[in-house]
């Protein structure tokens, strides 16, 4: 039917020109198409930011290397971090949320479809603006070009005196604009979940995916606000002669740090909570059991949401806060590890006593569990403030957060891709290539990021374009670079898999994984209207009830 959102047949349909298809996609307000747009956009930037990482790693492969100049290197790490957080991780997670939330709660679309489209295009524009800086940022000689102030853009490095030209503006305004996009999507997620659930789906019967995205969206409001405010203040300083962060006029550089990290820390929970959401959907299905401790999972997530707002200055242990402040942030950081740990135990509890199927989505989830455990523990190490005084600002921290984001969030994302690609495209991804992708990436990841902790322990700071020989850092940096390239090859395998499977993958049908949430009740891909008639549900696993009418979940609700 021509009203299908993305049936494969339409690609060959003779009556639609490519301009018509393009027009449909550009003007769409359908949450599924916007979800796909977000994901594709993020994948493109993933590759670009990956190249930036490759440049960084090549430059660091040996001491006193001259692959790139320090100016270029500083732009590379700034753009790599900024791109990955704002134009890869956020969009891709919003993309999955956009696609899946309405389907999972039995709705036809998001609450505000046009706002949805507007939010996507705002975010997209932000990304283009940031990258336009390479071309348009050039002001006076040596000034301008892409931002090179680090993705936290600490004051007073970002003041006019130390960052002439317009490169810092590109950073500020690109993120400001995409921040509004993020807020729009968060509004949509919350309004959809609160106001558009199908009959019978009380909040306690929603899939955990919906709960976790609800929490994430709520956090986005608390979190993007401070970033927006700080960026507005930076603009006032740079353009209107303001003194918010002007230390010469009595302003405070640490104020920027506080504002930024009040955003920055909960931001990483905004990124990881949707990853938790993926796990909470995939692990039960591949363990053939319901999630262990659903109410506790909800409670723990909300707890994480709140507590994560109180830990921000653990990024600032070295700035000279007094011992009481340092102690406060140390304990809150340790405390936030408790609900996080509880979630890991609940996933384990889900697997325990199950019948585990190690298809590719589950393999990536296992990788997540292993790596997120380690990342959480290195986080506990960093929370011990005196230990932090040695570890912060070094490659130990770089290794830690890449462990969370790559070893945790990206692994969960890969799992989500293998799990939901059949639903979105209608064809299965190739299992053999999937397993190759997993193992290659696993090996490259561990080679790269396990070893990366060590130069930090040996005194190597971060954000340095080169380093001195004879400090014991050379071999480790070489091996880390090799690991990085192995991961790059694995991503190539993944991209190839997605392309080949688009044309040649096995037809998926409605429910290839024998799962239990509502998105598996519609065709793959779903029709534009999602559900022929809005379903009514009586439990957390409506499809289990349908498949097991003699023993439905609704008896136990």
């Amino acid at each position: 039917m021509s009203s299908n959102a993305m049936t494969i047949q339409d690609v060959a349909a003779p009556d639609r020109t490519w301009t018509q298809v393009l027009h449909e996609w550009v003007t769409t307000v359908d949450h599924k198409r916007l979800g796909v747009l977000y994901i594709l956009y993020a994948l493109v930037f993933l590759v670009i930011a990956g190249f930036e990482a490759a440049i960084i790693r090549i430059q660091l492969i040996r001491p006193h290397n001259d692959f790139v100049s320090p100016q270029v290197f500083n732009r590379m790490f700034t753009m790599h971090g900024t791109t990955m957080i704002f134009f890869v991780a956020m969009p891709i997670l919003f993309g999955f949320a956009n696609y899946l939330v309405p389907l999972m709660i039995g709705a036809r679309d998001m609450a505000f479809p046009r706002l949805n489209a507007f939010s996507f295009w705002l975010t997209a524009f932000g990304g283009f603006l940031l990258y336009f800086s390479f071309l348009g940022g050039n002001g006076l000689y040596g000034a301008g070009n892409a931002p090179d102030v680090g993705w936290w853009a600490y004051a007073p490095l970002t003041s006019r005196a130390f960052s002439p030209g317009h490169s810092s503006e590109y950073w500020t305004i690109a993120l400001l604009v995409s921040g509004f996009g993020s807020m729009g999507t968060a509004v949509n997620i919350i309004a959809t979940i609160i106001s558009m659930r199908c009959p019978g789906m009380t909040l306690s019967r929603m899939p955990l995916f919906a709960w976790l995205n609800l929490t994430m969206a709520g956090m986005v409001f608390l979190v993007i606000g401070p970033l927006t405010a700080a960026q507005l203040m930076l603009c006032v300083d740079r353009y209107l002669g303001g003194h918010f962060f002007d230390t010469q006029a009595g302003g405070s550089a640490t104020l920027w740090m506080h504002f930024f990290w009040i955003f920055g820390h909960p931001e990483v929970y905004v990124l990881v909570i949707p990853a938790f959401a993926f796990l909470s959907e995939i692990i039960p299905v591949f363990s053939r059991k319901p999630i262990f401790g659903y109410p506790v999972m909800v409670g723990a997530t909300i707890c994480i949401g709140f507590v994560s707002m109180t830990v921000w200055a653990h990024h600032m242990f070295t700035i000279g806060m007094n011992s009481y402040a340092n102690s406060f942030f140390a304990i809150t950081t340790m405390v936030v590890g408790i609900p996080t740990g509880i979630k890991i135990f609940n996933w384990l509890g889900t697997m325990w006593g199950g019948r585990l199927q190690f298809k590719t989505p589950m393999l990536f989830c296992m990788g997540f569990l292993f790596q997120f455990l380690i990342a959480g523990l290195t986080g506990i190490m960093l929370s011990a403030a005196p230990f932090n005084w040695q570890l912060s600002g070094s490659y130990f921290v770089v290794a830690h957060f890449h462990y969370v984001i790559v070893g945790g969030i990206l692994f969960a994302l890969f799992g989500a891709f293998y799990y939901w690609y059949p639903k979105i495209i209608g064809r299965m991804l190739n299992e053999t290539l999937g397993k190759l992708h997993f193992w290659l990436f696993f090996i490259g990841f561990h080679l790269c990021f396990d070893l990366m902790h060590i130069p930090g322990l040996l005194g190597m700071p971060r954000r340095i374009y080169t380093y001195e020989p004879g400090r014991g850092w050379e071999t480790l940096n070489l091996l880390v670079t090799i690991g990085a390239f192995i991961q790059g090859i694995a991503i190539l395998v993944f991209v190839v898999n997605m392309i080949i499977s688009y044309f040649k993958g096995a037809k998926a049908g409605n429910d290839p994984w024998d799962a239990w949430t509502l998105e598996w009740s519609v065709s793959s891909p779903p029709p534009a209207y999602n559900f022929a008639s809005i379903p009514t549900v009586a439990s957390r696993r409506p499809l289990w009830d349908l498949k097991h009418p003699e023993d439905p979940d609704s008896h136990y609700d």
Binding site: V187, S195, M196, L203, F221, T228, A229, V236, H243, G251
Partner: protein
């Protein structure tokens, strides 16, 4: 309006969820509140820390009239939506219009105050920390007032054209929520700038 879902009643009865417009506006208010909080924190942090220039005590005059107008406009907009619900269109339109006028008086007062501060006292955004934080905070609020007035004006024009009826009450209430928020922020800004900050 509650944003907690009503549980499914056992009989095949109602399934009503909160109106998405109200939920959306509540989210927006929440987000804007977090932006304003940061500006307020910056203002309070920098009280007394300017290295030079005019101090609040020397130059600020409490905008009593503007405040009264703005806060009463919350009352008028609230009454306007009540009238709309009851179908009394003229009452709705007049009160809505008075809301816009009151908001306009507030803005005008702010503009006059800024004119006086800039030209009589030489206080600009770049003069000192007080100037920077004052104009940013009050300016951010004033921007939200401007946006609010524009939205109110759009509804007013639709109302004049006869297109706003009792069935639009929920939407008008959502907009009035935004206006109440703007007033609420003014209470905080007023307290911080004209009472605490002096």
């Amino acid at each position: 309006m509650s944003v907690i879902a009503t549980p499914l009643s056992e009989a095949k009865g109602e399934w009503t969820l909160p109106y998405r417009g109200t939920v959306g506006m509540a989210c927006l208010i929440f987000a804007e509140a977090s932006i304003f909080t940061i500006f307020v924190v910056a203002y309070l942090f920098y009280v007394g820390k300017s290295l030079s220039g005019p101090t609040p005590r020397e130059v600020l005059e409490t905008p009593i009239l503007g405040t009264i107008c703005l806060l009463s406009s919350s009352l008028t907009v609230h009454l306007a939506t009540k009238f709309l619900y009851l179908g009394r269109r003229t009452g709705f339109l007049s009160l809505w219009f008075i809301t816009i006028v009151l908001g306009g008086i507030f803005l005008f007062g702010t503009g006059r105050e800024w004119h006086r501060l800039i030209y009589e006292h030489g206080l600009t955004i770049s003069t000192n920390l007080f100037g920077t934080t004052y104009y940013s905070l009050v300016g951010l609020h004033a921007t939200h007032v401007v946006v609010g007035l524009l939205l109110l004006a759009v509804v007013f024009l639709f109302g004049l054209a006869g297109r706003v009826g009792p069935e639009q009450t929920k939407r008008a209430e959502v907009l009035s929520l935004y206006w109440h928020f703007v007033d609420g922020v003014w209470v905080v800004v007023f307290t911080v700038v004209y009472i605490l900050g002096r």
